[in-house]
Every structure is written in structure tokens, then in C-alpha cells.
């Protein structure tokens, strides 16, 4: 279940707890010509094959979600029991599943719900994380104390267990309500890691000279937060959210697999994996194809976020 306790958090923990030994050179080796962090990061990224592979995968699956018709001409809902578990024919390059639906077409159309849930959950998560992290980091004091405790508590709730409880409430709602519910659940439970990242980057930015300068020039809190601090916190937040997007897609699939996430007629990989699993002895492709789609999509987002983070934070390598 800890799939979605995020890849990032445990490693950050290590970094936080480890001693702060600085590398190698005992004395500073000369003065370097200043180069921008973003420039350095991009130079690193450009040479990283994992970055390019994941970027291509993300682009393909996004395109698939927006215009599935580009990838298959078949209708995923066109299921005829007479071709139950039939082999490949026509456009159905992976054959048909237990219900006689085109396995490949279902996998292609399944990307839409997954990506929609993943992207919107990440978006709402981002908004909550930015607001909470900004308030806690900027105002400090009791605001920080209260918000940090809230973060601790929410972080202490096992995501899958809470999602199970929450989603039981909407067990009878229609397809759109279910998508909304899943997004809501993931956003409400998943914002904490990102909020912590935002909070610490806000605290760092707050100490910078230009913020003090802006304050002395009479800029109000709102303006300072919006114009000076927000831009600095955005980059680390986006990295965390990219990884979170991947884990949200995995979480949605897991919930759908359990039967409390998305339900028919919405096509989702999680459900198809569950059906494929039950009938794996008769035919394995209906299990393997949606599994591969899901795994590649989740991997692509996690690898993308991982690569960007490594590029921006070289000392973790």
C-alpha cells in the first residue's frame, strides 16, 4: 500500500536526518564564474536518457488521453461475447478480453480517466500545498505550529485506508460523481508532502535579502508572498507534484482495482487489471496489457520528477 506514500518523502527524510558533511575539497577551489542553477540543471537533464524516455512516454500517454482515436479505430465499449478471449484481429492487436472487448482499445481509452484523475488531483494538491505551505512558512509562529500539526496528522493517516473509508460513502453515485470523489479523496489526503516542501522553500526564500528589501520599500505581505516568494517555491513544488501525479494515478488504479474507485461504464486500468487477473488462466493478455500501460505511465511521471529533482539538487546524487 505504501505505493503512494511517495518515493520522495522517505529519501528526503534521510537527507534531513543525515549529518551535514560537505564533500571533498577541504578548501574552496578558487572562485567559480557564476552560472545559473536552471542552466546547470538543463545541461544535466539534456544528457540524461531517463529524462528523455520519460518525457516521450508522458507526451504519448497525454496525447492518448486527449485523442484516443489517433491510436485505435475500435470502440472499447463494443463488446461481443462471441469473441471472448479471441486472438488478435482487425485493429485489436492484442485480441479480446473475457467480455469480448478489444483489449488494446480499452487500454488506450483507459488513459483518459487515469490522467484526468492524476492531473486534477495533482492540481488541487498543489493549490492546497501552496496555500498551507505559504501560510505556515511565511507567518511562522502559531500559524506554523497549528498547520504543521495538521500536516503531521494528515500524513499519519494511511492513504489507502482513509480512501477506502471515504469512498464507501459515494458507493452508489454515478460515473462523474465517482471521478470527482476519487479526485477529492486523493487531493484531501495527498497534499502533505508537497506542503512540507513548499513550507521549507518559503522559509528559505523569506530570509533572502531581496525580500527584506521589498519589505523596507513598503510592500505588503500579500505582495511579497505573491511576487517574491511564490516564484521561488514553485520549482520544488512542481517536482514533487510531478512525482505525486504518478502516485495518484497508481492510487486511482488501486482503488478501482479494489472496486471502490472508478466503476463501469468508466474505463479504468485498475478495473481491467482486476478482471484480467481473475481470468488469467484462460487468457493472459487482458491482464498484461492494461498492467503495462499503467506501469509505464506511473513510471514515466515518477522518473520525470526524479530526473528533474536530481538535476536541480545535484548533491543528492
Amino acid at each position: 500500500m505504501s505505493d503512494f506514500e511517495t518515493v520522495a518523502s522517505s529519501e528526503n527524510q534521510a537527507a534531513r536526518r543525515g549529518p551535514s558533511g560537505e564533500p571533498g575539497a577541504p578548501n574552496q577551489v578558487g572562485v567559480q564564474k557564476p552560472r545559473s542553477l536552471a542552466g546547470d540543471a538543463w545541461r544535466d537533464l539534456r544528457r540524461n536518457p531517463i529524462f528523455w524516455i520519460s518525457l516521450v512516454l508522458v507526451t504519448v500517454v497525454t496525447l492518448m488521453a486527449i485523442v484516443p482515436g489517433l491510436f485505435t479505430a475500435n470502440d472499447p465499449q463494443d463488446c461481443v461475447l462471441s469473441r471472448q478471449n479471441a486472438g488478435p484481429s482487425g485493429g485489436a492487436i492484442f485480441g479480446y478480453d473475457f467480455q469480448g472487448c478489444d483489449t488494446y482499445a480499452r487500454a488506450v481509452y483507459g488513459s483518459r480517466a487515469s490522467l484526468l484523475v492524476g492531473a486534477l488531483s495533482a492540481l488541487f494538491t498543489g493549490v492546497i500545498a501552496l496555500v498551507v505551505g505559504m501560510l505556515a512558512g511565511y507567518f511562522g509562529g502559531w500559524v506554523d505550529a497549528v498547520l504543521s500539526r495538521v500536516i503531521d496528522i494528515v500524513l499519519g493517516i494511511p492513504l489507502l485506508l482513509a480512501a477506502i473509508v471515504l469512498l464507501k460513502r459515494v458507493s452508489t453515485a454515478g460515473p462523474n460523481a465517482r471521478i470527482t470523489a476519487v479526485i477529492f479523496v486523493l487531493a484531501v489526503l495527498g497534499w502533505t508532502t508537497a506542503a512540507r516542501v513548499v513550507r521549507s522553500s518559503v522559509i528559505t526564500a523569506k530570509e533572502q535579502d531581496y525580500v527584506a528589501a521589498a519589505r523596507m520599500l513598503g510592500a505588503g505581505n500579500g505582495r511579497i508572498m505573491w511576487r517574491h516568494i511564490l516564484p521561488n517555491s514553485l520549482a520544488p513544488a512542481i517536482v514533487v507534484l510531478t512525482i505525486a501525479l504518478g502516485t495518484f494515478i497508481a492510487a486511482e488504479a488501486t482503488l478501482s482495482f479494489l472496486g471502490i474507485g472508478l466503476k463501469a461504464p468508466t474505463i479504468s486500468w485498475g478495473q481491467d487489471i482486476d478482471t484480467g487477473r481473475i481470468h488469467m488462466r484462460e487468457s493472459s493478455t487482458p491482464l498484461i496489457v492494461p498492467s503495462a500501460f499503467l506501469a509505464l505511465t506511473v513510471l514515466a511521471f515518477i522518473m520525470l520528477g526524479d530526473a528533474i529533482r536530481d538535476a536541480f539538487d545535484p548533491k543528492l546524487r
Binding site: P19, G24, P26, N27, Q28, V29, V31
Partner: protein, 345 residues
């Protein structure tokens, strides 16, 4: 002050004619993805039994790297010793196999570091850390090692040593931690102690106490000491000779008294003039203009020329050799004579 007290020099320590420790024409570079930084460019110095040599320089001048090269604890990569010799009792350490070098560390030459908090292992009690080499290298029993650790802690004047032996580094004050560091370095009775900025991280009052302790211990135990520092004030009371480093070279080398009286290198002169003096009122403190050089692109000729008030065309074109000025003094400046005469005036 010159420390010319007669030292109880061990007979075997120095083979006839040679020095206890001698660095000869050492070159070290750091090979990084950014390029090659020439950190040490032909450093030579020597240390005789029982004396204190101060190595002075800004950060980046290569003084710590030289010391780590002597100890054989450079991080390589990126560090790479390109050429040179480090002779200890006449034997070149650089050509010895690692196992043999390890035997020298701690037992013959020991080292203490700048920041004792990070230099001590946070998860082991100080007594354990002090006695570690006694147990692992001398084969002492746990109880004997513990007794010896308490002795060592007494020696470095840590109060209530017996009670504090089980405490962890973070439970000590900065000065006490540095004393723990010193006790640890002394455990195997080394003949040479290298102190790398031992007081930089400490309060001014504590600095003096630690320097006094080091001076006393060196005298009582008959060790030789290399004192690495960027602080001229620290040096005056304890050192016999001073080697001033700049951009990975020794630019001036002299006994303490003559160097203070009349520095023969513009860099040393600049350093001395930037110390506040009590005997001159209303003076404006001099500073050395410019920044330390980038070690990836060391200036042509004399590396100090962009910052030097004596600069001439020859300084840009020709690398100055060590100019011997008598009394064991050298200065790597084309105009050493003039600078010294200037300073003496």
C-alpha cells in the same frame, strides 16, 4: 619569541643530515568535471624534531591539502598527487603501500581538525573514540584503554574526566570538544602533530586556552608540530618558523622574528599590515586588494601579480624562484630584497 629550548630529541628520529619530516616539490591537483584545479604547485618545507612550523595562508592556498597529503587522507578522486616526495624519517611516504602508510597515521603523525563537532563521530562516546586506536592498534584491553583514555583527558585538562568519559561529543562545549580531539590525537604518542586551524571555530578566549595547551603539550611530550592557520596573531606565540602559502606555493619562509620584523614578500607584508596594532593610533587598516586566484586559471608569472603593489612587467612574464635571503629565509618574489628593505624601514 623564538623557542630555542633544547628538545629531548629521540636519537632514531632523524637520520643524520635529514629532517624528521620533509615535503619536497609537491604537486597536487583536483580533477573535477569542471576542469583541473592546481591546488599545490611545488610546495617544499621541512620539520625538525621538537620544533613548531606554522603554515599560513588564506583558504584555498593549499595549506590544508598539503597536510592531508602528508597524512595520506586526501579524497581521491578528485585529489591527485602529481609529483613530489614526502619524506618521513628519510623514507618517502608517497611510494609506500597503503598498509604501511596507515601504520604511520596516528602513531607517527597525528592530526587534529578545525571543527571538532563534525570531526568527532556523533554516535560514539568520547572515551570510546579516544581509546579506539589503543584497543584496535595496540591491542590494549578494554579496561586498560579506558584508564589510558581518562589519563589522556586529564592531560588535555578536561575536568572530571572519569565522569565524562561516557558522554557524547554534542554534550561538550566547543573548547572541550577540541580537547577531546587533541586527546584522541595524542593516544599513540605521535612524533608529529598536525593542527589544522585548531582554534578557528572557537571563541577568542577559548582560542588562547587551546593554543596554550597545544604549546605546552608539544613541549612536554617533545613532539614536532605543524600549525596550520590563517591567523597571524595565533602564530606569533607558538611557532619557530613560518611558511606563508599563496595559490599552492610557499611564497615566503622565515623564522618568526625576522618575518615579523621585515617581511620579504609583498603578500606577507600585506597580511601583516592588515593586522590591527595597539601601538599605532589612528592608522587606517591596510587591506590586500583583489581576490584569491581561481586555481583553474592561475595568473601567469607570479600568481600574486594582479594584487601586488610592487608589480612590474617581469612579474607577469616570469615565475619567480625562491630567493635565498640568508638565515634560512627565502622569498618567491622578484623584488624580495626591495620589499624587505621597504618593510624594515
Amino acid at each position: 619569541m623564538t623557542n630555542s629550548t633544547v628538545q629531548p630529541t629521540p636519537a632514531s628520529a632523524t637520520p643524520e643530515g635529514g629532517h624528521l619530516l620533509e615535503v619536497r616539490d609537491l604537486y597536487v591537483e583536483f580533477r573535477t568535471s569542471e576542469g583541473v584545479a592546481k591546488v599545490i604547485n611545488g610546495v617544499s618545507y621541512h620539520l625538525d624534531a621538537g620544533e613548531t612550523l606554522a603554515v599560513l595562508g588564506e583558504s584555498g592556498s593549499g595549506k590544508s591539502v598539503t597536510a592531508q597529503a602528508i597524512m595520506g587522507i586526501l579524497d581521491s578522486p578528485p585529489a591527485h598527487v602529481r609529483s613530489g616526495q614526502i619524506l618521513y624519517q628519510g623514507h618517502d611516504l608517497l611510494t609506500q603501500p597503503e598498509e604501511q602508510r596507515r601504520q604511520v597515521r596516528g602513531k607517527e603523525i597525528a592530526m587534529i581538525f578545525q571543527d571538532a563537532l563534525s570531526a568527532l563521530n556523533p554516535v560514539f562516546p568520547v572515551g570510546w573514540q579516544i581509546s579506539e586506536t589503543l584497543r584496535t592498534r595496540e591491542g590494549m584491553s578494554r579496561a586498560d584503554a579506558r584508564r589510558r583514555a581518562i589519563e589522556l583527558m586529564d592531560l588535555v585538562k578536561i575536568p572530571a574526566a572519569e565522569r565524562r568519559i561516557g558522554d557524547y561529543p554534542h554534550q561538550f562545549s566547543g573548547g572541550m570538544r577540541q580537547r577531546v580531539m587533541i586527546a584522541m590525537a595524542l593516544a599513540l604518542n605521535p612524533k608529529v602533530l598536525i593542527a589544522d586551524e585548531p582554534t578557528t571555530a572557537l571563541d577568542v578566549t577559548v582560542q588562547a586556552q587551546i593554543m596554550d595547551l597545544l604549546a605546552d603539550l608539544r613541549r612536554d611530550l617533545g613532539m614536532a608540530m605543524i600549525l596550520i592557520t590563517h591567523d597571524l596573531g595565533v602564530v606569533a606565540g607558538v611557532a619557530d618558523r613560518i611558511a606563508v602559502m599563496y595559490a599552492g606555493r610557499i611564497v615566503e619562509h622565515a623564522d618568526v622574528r625576522s618575518l615579523y620584523r621585515a617581511p620579504a614578500h609583498p603578500y606577507t607584508k600585506g597580511l601583516l599590515e592588515s593586522i590591527p596594532r595597539l601601538d599605532v593610533r589612528g592608522q587606517e587598516l591596510a587591506t590586500i586588494r583583489g581576490l584569491p586566484p581561481n586555481l583553474m586559471r592561475i595568473p601567469s608569472g607570479c600568481p600574486f601579480h594582479p594584487r601586488c603593489p610592487y608589480v612590474q612587467q617581469v612579474c607577469v612574464d616570469v615565475v619567480p624562484h625562491d630567493l635565498v635571503l640568508g638565515d634560512g629565509r627565502t622569498s618567491a618574489c622578484h623584488f624580495a630584497q626591495e620589499v624587505r628593505d621597504d618593510s624594515a624601514r
